[in-house]
Subunit: 366 residues, 2 copies
Amino acid sequence: MGEKNPENDVSAAVKKKKEIVIDLESFGETLYHQMEQGEFPWIKMPSRSTENIYYNPELRQYVLGERKVKRSTRNIRHIRPFTQLVWTAFFAHQLSHQRKTSTLRDVYYSAQAYNMSFKDQSESDNVITDLETVIGFAREDFNIFPEERSAIFGDLTIEYTVPGYEGRQMNMTSHPDGLMIGPALTYSEFVKTSADKVIAIEKGGLFTRFIEENVHKKFNALLVLTAGQAPRATRHFIRRLNKELALPVYILTDGDPWGMHIAMVIISGSANAAHLRGLTTPDAKWSGVWATDIVDYKLPTDPLTEVDMKRLQELQRDSRYKDEIWQREIKTFMKIRKKAEQEAFSRYGLTYIVDEYLPAKLEESA
Amino acid sequence: MGEKNPENDVSAAVKKKKEIVIDLESFGETLYHQMEQGEFPWIKMPSRSTENIYYNPELRQYVLGERKVKRSTRNIRHIRPFTQLVWTAFFAHQLSHQRKTSTLRDVYYSAQAYNMSFKDQSESDNVITDLETVIGFAREDFNIFPEERSAIFGDLTIEYTVPGYEGRQMNMTSHPDGLMIGPALTYSEFVKTSADKVIAIEKGGLFTRFIEENVHKKFNALLVLTAGQAPRATRHFIRRLNKELALPVYILTDGDPWGMHIAMVIISGSANAAHLRGLTTPDAKWSGVWATDIVDYKLPTDPLTEVDMKRLQELQRDSRYKDEIWQREIKTFMKIRKKAEQEAFSRYGLTYIVDEYLPAKLEESA
């Protein structure tokens, strides 16, 4: 560990940004070329309809199948979405070129500055997903970021690449409340770390507890706060920590079907992102709170609601949950009909979770 | 501006912590003293029932009236809540003494380690509010923090007082995604700033846009992300920026009744916190998005829903909203029956909000 993977040189993030600008430009050139040839501009892209989404056990994520859709401006019904797609590519190119970031909502409103009409934000969101599918990069790569922010803390030194901060380094222990994971961290280069693992945590209270109890030192860990369901930028960031620094990732959530699924989306992604790679961390481990932990540690619990039970039944049939540990935990939840929060360990004192539970679980998941 | 108010010396936060420990101890001593006198221990505290909550126009916040409640262990029905209160004071003392932070939920579970029974978290939350009322400090002051985190960015140098970071200084421009406002920032001392105002922003997307567009430099501003309704620790932090550094505060929210109320809670607090001082910033200004801005700037809008309209009617009768500007804006919302988001300005280009709207509004609110 320690030094970063030499395959990823210092300008990996910068290179990727350049690649995207080139891809966006070549998309535009293709259209020009088609028109020069006297053709109505058209594109072909993988279909994102449900029948074309498969779980790929090797990649351990959802992928799109072979079905393609063709959109041609020869077809009058395609002209509107086609134009919207081209405008979105233009706008993404502008963002990347000017190194400005934006949000899904901003794109929706920005369109109006160009007299591009989207009937609502879900229409523009959908066209942005089309663009992801066409160029094969996530929207964060062309500077469209989520509103939500999560955070990191621990001994990792990064180097910024964003305007005004180029070349400046920052250690992620500098601010004991944690550093927000926004565009600047997403585009940063990893310089060095003494950590040998990543612990992702669902809730702010526990994140702060771990910092106060020096979990980053005691366990040589980088701590990532997901703040509920991890935003896509954070999932991408966790993957980078795993791939570029070869750090194993452990995920701690509440002990209920919703917590399980927070872990699963970090591990295997969602069906909605079947057209993308680079957002999942297939080797990440869900380390707790397991249903079996609730039993073994005699945790204070709440009863599972009908909604919880229904969700467990859905997860039981979900291809991402086919492995033994998930099936075992789902069955145990259904049997005990109880759930427990991360904070439930405070029943044994505030530091029990750090002193007893965490070391036991890290050993168990390793 | 620039230098901090000399009234607040470098150890203000540390002093306050000591004061709270002393207050908690003297609460305990009072009980011992009562028992030594042969009395059943008792306390008197202001009633928090609705009939005892008044809006105080001078303080510009809700306050508790003259009514007191007495709780005595002579009364068998009082023994349970009394014991819970004493345990909570003990636990708060322990947290403050050991310099550990906790959350409302943690306290609920921690009680079980002491065989203190709360029937649910709302019972323990309520006893924590009792303790706030008894000692007159907010729970954050005795180390019980909310889960939610917001962030700050701009030229402010602070000095940490939390364990392991004592005396270390940090400038709030160090991390271009923003620094989380958690316990460490809450307890920090303000060292210096070149800013002459604070701009509080409801949404993460606009916070990032403002950083990218150098609003902190162009407008000499500290930027605070409230991330929706500002957590109490953030409201306290905004007040400190206003009082200790004498910085005026401007608040930017979505243009709808919910955005208005995000601003109002920063300005005048909530009825729930009528027993506390130190969470409000009465001189802070709601700078937009006003209903009249929607008209003047011809913003893209959505229709107000029935729920929105009902909320406006509630606000219209609320004593915090009696000033002319609020009444005018409420009436305008009701008349146009439309709302607009902060991002709606992107309709004139991504930087319009910074180049045109913000300077106009700062001048208008100054």
